[in-house]
Each structure stands twice: as structure tokens, then as C-alpha cells.
Symmetry: C2
Subunit: 207 residues, 2 copies
DNA sequence: CAAGATTGGACAGCAGAACTATCCAACCGT
DNA sequence: ACGGTTGGATAGTTCTGCTGTCCAATCTTG
């Protein structure tokens, strides 16, 4: 365990805590006071830290997602499970208007979702919140996002397809889903600043 | 204040707490035990809740962002300030390789950033974390994201340009930056599921 | 084989975040 | 005059995510 702590950079008590919380599987017991941890444990530990630090997930969500990895049969399964586990189901339901706006967007793109999909509700609720501030999101922006994300998804999936064993493939799918989100957001912010600057410059020139 | 609580749906003690924390400005004092709250207060309160609930910001970050709104002279300022205040500057620095990958992407797109930009570091660190899991992000994916986000940013900015007074314009810029993030992520997840399904179907047909 | 370090397991403690509850004196409308 | 707010202060609560301490069983090393 000292080695695990060393290699992961985490203090021993924290690793014990993660074991208790079921975030990492117990080591192979070798006698009553000793267990053996392997490469897989280290990998898991790093994944936990990445999900917490980079994807900003809470520990209970991390556990839930990892359970999903362990039980999923296919990539597709794993991603579906991860999505399901990510969105909080509490709080007020989404408005009919927003749900309709989402469904119409899905239609325009020929996409489908389970009617109880967590993503459908989450999106509708986000739209509600913004509309509640007097700044509604129209179909044009929704379509722009959908177009943009369709393009990105194609490139994303190209790299996942070279899958190895089942567990690695599933893990990669989850990494791709969750850990690329902060990457995308950072790129978005950078793009926003630059497009905004270009536009301001153009306006100034025209004036 | 009872009215403010009523209209915002928040309990009175919570509003008192937000006042204490400086998240909303104090009401116009009318005598020693009474103050008047107006439409602006209600608006602020709703904005705070949206930033907490939808954008998942912590209260200290919300305060920081709101301070930015109040002090910003222009839209551009406000967005810059918001970005700066969003990313945690603690933790390990980004690796040189990742920083270089970011800079090269910026080059390919003709974009520029202050070298100490919070976004630049945040992006590089996210790339480091993913690479640490043995699943590095190549320039192709980075470019795909940048392309996608450039397209989206153009549409986003179209709607902000019809600015009213300074305060509203700045507020809208911050809403656009922060509250549209969950919208984008939800669309991304939906797109991912659908593109993945399409691809699986095509593969199955080819087989 | 004795001495000292390490491990797993149980449990208590702690710091930060976001509320929530209680008091109290000043005050307002009736 | 008086019951019901209000602002202000202060203390308490719940939830997370760790840390710290203790202990007996065991492993290692001399």
C-alpha cells in the first residue's frame, strides 16, 4: 500500500478512505494484515483523481460511474449508464415549451432519445433557467450547437474505435465522455474571446 | 423582504445569508429596520440561483463573477473577467508539451491569448490529465473542437449584439458565457449517443 | 528469534460550503 | 399601544471529503 501511495501521489489515509467508499476494489488479501495491489489499482486510482479534479465529479457520482464501467457490456452501454448517473433527477421538472424545443431540434437532426432520457430533461431544464433570465435560446443557437457537436463527435469516435479489451474500451468511452468536457469548454472560451475580438475589430474598421 | 422571498421562491434566511455574503446589494435603507428591494434585486437573486444551479458555480465564484459584472466597462471586459475568475490557479502547472499543443492550435486558427491566460493553462492541464490516463488528445481532435466552437461562437455573438444598456449587455455576456455551457454539454451528449448509434448501425450493415 | 516497522480495519475528528435557526431590539402600520 | 415584521448578529446543522489516532496482527530484518 505504501507503494500504491507513492506511485499515485495520494496519502495512505486517502487511499484507505477510497477503499472504504468502494471507489477502488480491495487488494488481493494475502494474510490478515496484508493485501496486494497491482497495476489495475493504480490505474483506477488515477481515473478517480481525474474524474474528481478534471471532470469535477463528486465522489458518489464517481463511484456510480465506475460501477457503470464495471457492469457495462459495451461502449455504448457504458456511455449511456454514465449519462444516466450524471444528471440529478431531483428538482422541478422541465417546462413543456423547452421539452418541445428539444424534441424539435432532435427532429431536425434526425436524432432520437428515450423519452425519459436524462439528457433530454437536463437540456430542457437548462433552457428553462436561461429563459427565466429573459434571454431565451432560440432554435438557431440550438442547431448551431448540434451541428458543431455532431462534427466533433465524428472525430471523437474515430479515436475510440481502435478498442482493445472490453474493459479498456469501456473505460476509454467514459474518459471520452467525461474528461473531454473540460477540454471542450476551455476551447469554447478561447474561441469566444477570439471571435469576439475579431468581430469588434471588424466593427471598428467599418465605423 | 417577505415579498422578495415570495417572488424568488427562496426562504428569508437564505436571502439574509446572500446579503451578508455580498451576493446581492443591500436594499435602500428606509429607517433602521426596513429596506426597500426592487426589480433589480429580484433579477440579481435569480441570476445567483441560475449560476449556482445551472452553471454549478460555488458561491464565492458567483460573488467574484458578479463583482466582475459590476465593474466591467464593456462586454468584452466582462467575459475576460469571468474567465479569469473561473479557473483555479492552484495545483500543479501544466506541462510544456500540452502548452505547446495549445499554442500550436492557436496558431493554426490565427488566435491569440495572453500568455498567462487562465484558459490556456486550464486547457493544457486538462490535456495533461487525459494523457496521464494513456489516452492522449491529438491535434486533430483539438482542431475539431476549435472549428466547432468557432462556428458556435459566431451564432452566439449574433444574439448578444443587440445590446441595451451597459449593465444588461454585460449581464447577457456573462449569461452567454456561463449558462450556455450546460446547454452545450447536454447537446454534446445527445450528439455523441446519436452519432455513435449511427456508426454502430453502419458497421453492422457493412458486416 | 526478538525488535521494530507496516498493514488493514474501525472510529473519531476536522475544515469548508451552504444554509438554517434563534435572538433581539427597533420600528411600522392599525 | 401593540402585535407583527425587519435588519443584524451569532450560533448551530448537514454534507463532503478527507485526516488522525489507535490497535492487534503480521511481516521484515538483524
Amino acid at each position: 500500500m505504501a507503494e500504491l501511495s507513492e506511485r499515485s501521489g495520494l496519502p495512505v489515509p486517502t487511499i484507505k478512505y477510497y477503499l472504504r467508499e468502494g471507489l477502488i476494489p480491495p487488494g488481493d488479501a494475502v494474510g490478515a494484515t496484508r493485501a496486494r495491489y497491482g497495476e489495475a489499482h493504480l490505474r483506477r486510482l488515477r481515473l478517480v483523481r481525474a474524474l474528481v479534479d478534471v471532470a469535477q465529479l463528486r465522489l458518489d457520482v464517481v463511484r456510480s460511474v465506475l460501477d457503470g464501467i464495471d457492469n457495462a457490456r459495451t461502449r455504448h452501454d457504458a456511455v449511456g449508464a454514465a449519462h444516466m448517473r450524471l444528471s440529478r433527477t431531483d428538482g422541478e421538472p422541465a417546462s413543456h415549451e423547452s421539452l418541445r424545443a428539444v424534441d424539435e431540434m432532435l427532429n431536425r437532426f434526425g436524432w432520437t432519445l428515450a423519452p425519459d432520457s436524462a439528457n433530454r430533461t437536463a437540456l430542457a431544464r437548462a433552457l428553462d433557467a436561461i429563459a427565466g433570465l429573459g434571454f431565451p435560446v432560440g432554435p438557431d443557437l440550438l442547431d448551431a450547437y448540434a451541428n458543431a457537436m455532431r462534427g466533433a463527435a465524428v472525430v471523437e469516435l474515430n479515436r475510440v474505435d481502435l478498442a482493445e479489451d472490453r474493459e479498456t474500451a469501456v473505460e476509454h468511452a467514459v474518459i471520452g465522455t467525461l474528461l473531454l468536457e473540460p477540454v471542450l469548454l476551455a476551447v469554447r472560451r478561447i474561441a469566444e474571446v477570439n471571435v469576439s475580438r475579431e468581430r469588434t475589430a471588424r466593427e471598428r474598421a467599418a465605423r
